[in-house]
């Protein structure tokens, strides 16, 4: 194991732990960016250039920005003053420790794992494109369909359900809210679109 690998792994794991334990949500998002960039560096170390750069484009570029936007839109106070952990957190930590122990034990004790790195494979973008267009063309089409459906679905879910005049409610009337909004939301979208949406 090279020192470079150790350094990158340490930075990645430290940033991931920070992303999961910091109090301020914006700090969490920034630590997540560091962790994902560290993972991209690990991919580059393992000769997976295309995946490394795709990781930077998709995760550091898009998903992190999406998370920052979600923090902004939910106005969750950047630093909450109540507890940040759910009530049964000790159980959660214990379960994840058990999971880590199991995975680590399996990784350290399994026989037959390859010991040496085989010579670096030719994984150019051209090769990957060839594979995507020949052997993996069906999964590629399915992924295209999935992404389209997911993005349209995300827009529909996040669309405003009712005109703005009704939405100036306080949190206390959240219980009575259930009567106001009809379960099939599709109808209210149409009416809201005609109403100009404010």
């Amino acid at each position: 194991m090279s020192p470079v690998f150790l350094i990158i792994a340490f930075v990645t794991l430290f940033a991931a732990a920070a992303a999961m334990s910091l109090r301020n949500l914006v700090h969490c998002a920034l630590s997540l960016v560091v962790a994902l960039a560290g993972l991209a560096a690990l991919y580059l170390q393992l000769d997976a250039q295309f995946v490394g750069f795709a990781q930077i484009l998709v995760y550091v570029g898009a998903v992190a920005i999406l998370i920052v936007f979600a923090v902004l839109l939910t106005r969750s106070d950047a630093t909450p003053n109540q507890a940040i952990l759910a009530p049964g957190w000790i159980v959660g930590i214990a379960v994840s420790a058990v999971v880590f122990a199991t995975l680590g034990w399996a990784a350290l004790n399994s026989t037959g794992l390859p010991k040496e790195m085989s010579p670096a494979p030719v994984a150019t973008v051209k090769n990957i494109g060839d594979m995507l267009m020949t052997q993996y063309v069906l999964p590629l089409e399915v992924i295209g369909l999935l992404l389209t459906a997911a993005l349209i679905g995300a827009v529909i879910i996040a669309m405003k359900e009712e005109p703005l005049s009704n939405s100036g409610r306080s949190r206390s009337d959240g219980a009575s809210l259930s009567k106001k909004s009809e379960p099939p939301h599709v109808g209210s979208y149409g009416s809201e679109k005609e109403g100009g949406g404010v």
Binding site: S96, L103, I128
Partner: protein, 103 residues
């Protein structure tokens, strides 16, 4: 410890960190971040086994990771849209305050 085992240990620890965050944090956004970390840990495993496996020229592990990144992006978009829609109902992003299934 071989380099492959090093990668597997890093990915196992990353998975455990993500799992701990996803089940213990109250904020829904951070639960989603934990899920992203777990997905990334799985991706690291795929890349490591691809690189140290006997037939890296088949590119199969890399293909799985490329598709998995695409699915993770779709999952993040839908998950954050759900969080925003739920926030509009409950005026909170804390998971333990969302107790009603109806409305």
């Amino acid at each position: 410890m071989t380099p492959l085992q090093g990668c597997l240990l890093v990915s196992a620890l990353l998975f455990a960190i993500g799992l701990a965050g996803a089940v213990t944090r109250r904020n829904a956004i951070l639960a989603l971040v934990g899920i992203e970390l777990m997905l990334n840990a799985a991706n690291l495993n795929f890349i490591a086994f691809w690189r140290y496996g006997p037939h890296p020229e088949a590119l199969s592990g890399m293909m799985v990771v490329i598709f998995s990144i695409a699915i993770a992006a779709a999952e993040a978009a839908v998950g954050l849209a759900l969080i925003i829609a739920i926030y509009r109902h409950y005026r909170t992003a804390n998971l333990d305050e969302m107790k009603n299934l109806k409305g």
